[in-house]
């Protein structure tokens, strides 16, 4: 990881100081062990503050929608981010020639909640990754544990740890050993209708409508979102179970066929609603009904909801 963070600094410095780009978007570190956050750097002198660590989970490519560069922006992409980038490209929301992409092979990132669950977080100062292990640093010393035990669940089922697109790859490709990503969807499908309704009602009842799941999503890139429009007000603001369901159905449905399964929606949800399962239900159905399709990766295939076949399965009951 040390090496990678050095290469990130070099790449950022090089592209900024040569005038190739006017801004670099990477990650910086806050004072707490899990605080890694997006950083926007225009001064080559500040590139030394960029980092790469097991918490650099923020997807940077969605910021391209806000930043309007005269020249180029340089961006670091993990495997999942690269899929999102491709989707933004396909949706016509970014211009490829305005971005310089540095690819980062990433075999998984650490979920702070999993560290806390083990009690390792008490007095924790820093976490570093050394090969397959995490090293936890404390005032009194250090402890080690297998890294994969602490990864986000979205990382454990990641199928594209190496960016599918970039201008320059920083680091060696990493192997990939994904868990079955549809396991939870299948489990729910096997449950009864009432069990499923209870399950989702319970989860949705916690929703506070903060819209973080929408805002972080690389497939949610509308200039004006249906949920923000006051007239007609499709999404009411009352704490009604019907309204909340409307929100979650619509959010997932709008990204069906475009969701790259990066899992950011579920990761970011402060209330722990398993949002990725909604998207995965669509992905699973699309794969079963219309053939395998990986949004963000299958660039040569037509998007499943923008096309049809005359012999598609019928919807008629």
């Amino acid at each position: 990881m040390k090496q990678l963070s050095e290469r990130i600094k070099e790449a950022a410095f090089g592209s900024l100081s040569s005038g190739q780009v006017e801004m670099v978007i990477g990650w910086q570190k806050g004072p707490l062990w899990w605080q890694s956050f997006p950083a926007f750097i225009t001064d080559p002198g500040e590139t030394a503050s960029l980092i790469w660590d097991p918490f650099s989970v923020s997807n940077l490519n969605k910021y391209l929608l806000n930043e309007v560069p005269k020249k180029k922006i340089a961006l670091f992409l993990k495997g999942c981010d690269a899929l999102g980038f491709n989707q933004l490209l396909r949706d016509g929301r970014v211009e490829r020639e305005k971005v310089l992409l540095f690819g980062i092979p990433c075999d998984g990132l650490v979920d702070p909640a999993r560290v806390e669950a083990t009690g390792l977080s008490k007095g924790l100062l820093q976490v570093k990754k050394e090969r397959e292990e995490l090293v936890f640093y404390y005032k009194e010393g250090q402890r080690k544990a297998p890294a994969r035990d602490f990864y986000y669940s979205k990382c454990l089922s990641c199928r594209y740890p190496n960016p599918v697109t970039c201008d320059e790859m920083l680091g060696e490709a990493v192997p990939c050993q994904p868990l079955e990503r549809f396991a939870n969807v299948s489990k729910l499908e096997a449950a009864s209708l009432e069990e499923r309704f209870t399950y989702w009602s319970r989860h949705f009842s916690r929703c506070i409508r903060c819209f973080a799941c929408r805002n972080v999503c690389p497939a949610c890139s509308c200039r004006e979102c249906i949920f923000d429009i006051a007239e007609p007000r499709w999404l009411g603001k009352a704490k009604e179970s019907g309204e909340t369901l409307f929100y979650h159905i619509t959010r997932a449905y709008h990204v069906a066929g475009r969701c790259v399964d990066c899992g950011e929606c579920a990761r970011i949800c402060p209330l722990g609603i398993p949002l990725a399962e909604l998207n995965r239900k669509f992905i699973k159905d699309i794969n079963e009904l219309y053939g395998e399709y990986d949004a963000g990766a299958d660039l040569d295939k037509e998007a499943p909801l923008l096309t049809f076949k005359s012999d598609d399965p019928d919807v008629s009951a």
Binding site: R202, A212, D228, K237, A238
Partner: protein
Amino acid sequence: MKKITKEKLALFWELLARRATLYLPLQEDGVVNFAPWKNGARVNLRENSLVPPKNVFFPQAETYLRFQTGAKKLQLESLEPEEEFILFGVRPCDVASFTILDKVFLEEPVDGLYAKRRRLGTLVSLGCNEPGETCFCTSFELEPAFAPGADVMVWDMGEFLLWEAQSEKGDELTAKINELLDEAAPEESASALSLRNTTAAGEAAAGCQQEWNTAGLQEVLRGKFNVELWEKLYHRCLGCGICTYLCPTCHCFDIQDFSRGLEGERFRCWDSCMFAEFTLMASGENPRPTQKERVRQRFLHKLLYFPSKYGLYACVGCGRCVRKCPVHLDITQVMEPIK
């Protein structure tokens, strides 16, 4: 001082719930939130709730008016809260947040809904045994294990809870449930005081959260409306409402109508200054056109405008926004360069 042993807690909840609606920190799917206690609910007294208990006094959405229009007549019906409730397990930081909300809602013009709920509710605070990693209540001269604004103060001493009424309402509640309370021995009562002292010292010394020196912050921020910091800060903000909705002191709301045919209702609901729609006017003009103005508003409201008007910061150091902001716009950090 009274005490209650932990084996009696289940019975205790049942008894309290019989007196009034009992809000407790309940755990569901790994998330702790205040909700009405029901038999079989999983009470979690170890962690503070994710959504602050402000939503008990100031719900995310509440209907206060029903209307019906006929050919000539408009019929109106006002609704207001009627239910007495006990809010148990509120941490001292969140109790302090009610002082802040009181300033907004109880000064003229008084907000009837909030005022009524404040009257109907009995507030039982639970002192913190150890500060969390993102806690910084001491930065606002609050004590982690003591809440002067609560009706009853409770401390978790391991085997038992210590119970001390601090107000008339607290005395009334104590009298109602006296059968389950025992008299605490003098040395047990003294342990509450020592807990107060160790946690207050503990937070400062915890070393996890850098202590945030808020002294003079208000003065420093005056005249800093157009500094470059805001330009730097806002880029990473996603514009979601996590920080505002999880904040115990954020109190902005919107008013909306819901109607079907000739009848409908009017409700108020939380709103967030992080949303573009928040300041969007009917003309299409938006005085806070980008996230920069919105981020600035949030921080300056808490740390400059509110204290200028009411004499105290609109932050109690509960640490929810620090913990949950997806891009770590950490309030204790982002203001540092301005100093």
